[in-house]
């Protein structure tokens, strides 16, 4: 089974980003980057599929040259080889999906496992768009995945509970946070990853026009909440809620 999985290089999700004074973007000086959290779950699931069914895991990233670090992390976890679609441009999810579609056409995977959402831009779009561009079925927000007889059965986290869907391979699956527990790269894994191959393409090589359909005009900070007060006990709290906040 050939499994394609995707990783995005994102700002460290535990750091609070700062906005440039002129509103043209975020401050990138001193910012740390890492693999998008949801993609860690996607990569882990891809490796588990290979462990169960055999085959190959190919990890794809779209981004600057520095994204090879996130690809190497996936390779150290157990993916077999990497593909970097190299661009310094800030892409919308649509352009990312169209680029990955071209990689998928070259690779002909049986399944593509992605994250449900990149935690920097919070769009939650690329997997579903990729499915549409390839004409594949999609199973988003997966917390459970099994593959048998050319179909994937996917437990999905949805409003109101959970739901189960079956999709015929090739298909797109996007990972939610309860899908698995991503492994850490082992030292031998890290050493092996150094010798694994990473192919590079430019968007032009893939024949994709990466012009954005959605353009960001201004970045701004949301209004801050004013700091509140500490109350000393339940009676005081009820008093404040009733007389000051007037919620009762």
């Amino acid at each position: 089974m050939k499994i394609l999985t995707t990783v995005k290089r994102v700002t460290d999700p535990d750091m609070k980003v700062k906005i440039k004074p002129d509103g043209s973007g975020i401050v990138t000086d001193g910012v740390e980057y890492k693999m998008n959290s949801f993609d860690e779950y996607g990569v882990e699931e891809a490796i588990r599929l290979k462990e169960e069914h055999g085959g190959e895991v190919v990890v794809v990233s779209v981004g600057p040259d520095a994204s090879t670090k996130e690809i190497r992390t996936a390779l150290a976890m157990g993916a077999d080889r990497g593909v970097l679609v190299e661009t310094d441009a800030d892409l919308d999810s649509d352009a990312v999906a169209r680029l990955i579609a071209e990689v998928a056409k070259k690779e002909s995977p049986d399944i593509i496992v992605m994250g449900k959402q990149a935690v920097d831009s919070d769009r939650n779009q690329a997997g579903q768009m990729l499915a549409a561009y390839l004409g594949y079925p999609q199973a988003t927000f997966a917390f459970e995945l099994s593959v048998a007889d050319g179909w994937a059965t996917v437990g999905r986290e949805v409003d109101g509970g959970t739901s189960t869907k079956r999709v015929k391979l090739p298909a797109i699956v996007t990972a939610d946070l309860r899908l698995n527990e991503p492994r850490y790269a082992s030292l031998p894994g890290i050493i092996k990853a150094k010798r694994k191959k990473i192919d590079r393409f430019s968007p032009e090589d893939l024949g994709v026009d990466i012009a954005s359909k959605v353009n960001v005009l201004v970045f701004e900070a949301p209004p801050e909440r004013e700091a509140g007060q500490i109350v000393d006990g339940v009676d005081a709290l009820i008093g404040k809620l009733r007389d000051e906040a007037k919620v009762f």
């Binding site: 999700p13 609070k16 975020i26 919308d92 999810s93 649509d94 935690v119 920097d120 831009s121 919070d122 939650n124 779009q125 997997g127 579903q128 768009m129 499915a131 549409a132 561009y133 079925p137 999609q138 988003t140 917390f143 999905r156 986290e157 949805v158 409003d159 109101g160 509970g161 959970t162 739901s163 189960t164 869907k165 079956r166 015929k168 946070l177 309860r178 954005s212 359909k213 959605v214 353009n215 005009l217 970045f219 701004e220 900070a221 949301p222 909440r225 700091a227 509140g228 007060q229 109350v231 006990g233 339940v234 009676d235 709290l237 009820i238 809620l241 009733r242 906040a245 919620v247 009762f248």
Partner: protein, 326 residues
């Protein structure tokens, strides 16, 4: 080509209220594009939902009803081509839907079919020499203003910032037939609904949320008692859901639900930025945490530094005694 198409959402034959918020957004968008508000109801035997949307005075101009076996259960593969077809038929410039899990699953597929740019989680639509949208990102620590350069714009709407409209003229109701067939290779198996008599988290006036500090699922009971007294919903942090104390449907935050009730209780929740992203828009926030340094106190209007196991039952009892709630 200046109309707005809102995709309605229903579950178990009942309209979801988030649809009404999306219609309000749609009406604001239509006032900028200079078009009409069309609402599409896809399903199998969902005439009552369509009638409610047409008669309810929620702001639609025309409600389109498409019944079909392939729409009996929601599947993106069958819904997306149908939405794209109707969007073209009504000349939609804006196609929108709530940013629910269904909307998030469906709309990007629709956008790709329409070769449209998509904006996720819109919180504002306005005119600035063209239609513009605002949306939060980076766990709600950044707001961007965006423009969509394609003729059709697909938007998922953060419904907590839009109320339902009332008292608008009723809408025309039309039946449409969809020519796209069923997708071969996607099957709905089941929907396991978390049964509850409480209001939906995204609609509730009061939300009582618990975190990992509660240490066990059964300790959520005291939160349920407080929520039930106040007619509220119960929510949870990701850590509480991951630990199995609460169902996934209760998760509030960047990657769970976004809520904005009148009153939000954060009980034994530390206040990680990913959690704050889901509740910062609440009107009044109360934090109960035994750690005075917990970051949740920085966004709380009222903080109680205390052991939740002592003060939550005390609070519920004293509210009852004071004749509040119930």
């Amino acid at each position: 080509m200046s109309n707005v198409l809102v995709v309605a959402e229903h579950v178990g034959g009942a309209l979801r209220n988030v649809t009404l918020s999306a219609i309000n957004f749609g009406k604001q968008a239509a006032s900028i594009t200079g078009g009409k508000v069309h609402v599409l109801v896809l399903g199998d035997g969902v005439d009552a939902v369509a009638k409610q949307l047409a008669d309810g005075g929620y702001g639609a101009d025309t409600v389109h009803l498409a019944n079909g076996g392939q729409f009996a259960n929601y599947l993106a593969e069958n819904y997306a081509p149908a939405v794209a077809e109707v969007a073209k038929a009504v000349g939609a410039e804006v196609v929108c839907s709530p940013s629910s899990t269904t909307g998030k699953d469906l709309l990007p597929r629709v956008a790709a079919l329409l070769e449209a740019g998509m904006v996720s989680d819109a919180i504002e639509v306005f005119d600035d020499g063209g239609i513009r949208f605002k949306r939060p990102l980076w766990a709600d620590n950044v707001i961007t203003t965006v423009e969509v350069s394609t003729p059709v714009k697909v938007i998922s709407v953060r419904t907590t910032v839009y109320d339902a409209l009332e008292g608008q003229p009723s809408a025309a109701l039309e039946t449409v037939s969809i020519s796209a067939g069923a997708f071969d290779g996607a099957e709905f198996v089941s929907f396991d609904q978390v049964k509850s008599d409480r209001p939906e988290l995204t609609d509730a006036d009061v939300v009582v949320a618990g975190g990992r500090g509660l240490k066990a699922g059964e300790n959520f009971e005291m939160l349920m008692n407080l929520a039930d007294l106040l007619g509220g919903a119960v929510g949870a942090s990701r850590a509480a859901v991951d630990s199995g104390y609460a169902p996934n449907d209760w998760q509030i935050g960047q990657t769970g639900k976004v809520v904005a009730p009148n009153l939000y209780f954060a009980v034994a929740i530390s206040g990680a930025i990913q959690h704050l992203a889901g509740m910062k828009g609440s009107k009044t926030i109360v934090a109960i945490n035994k750690d005075p340094e917990a970051p949740i106190f920085q966004v709380a209007d009222y903080g109680l530094v205390a052991d939740a196991f002592a003060v939550v039952p005390e609070l519920t009892q004293k509210l009852k005694d004071a004749g509040i709630g119930g």
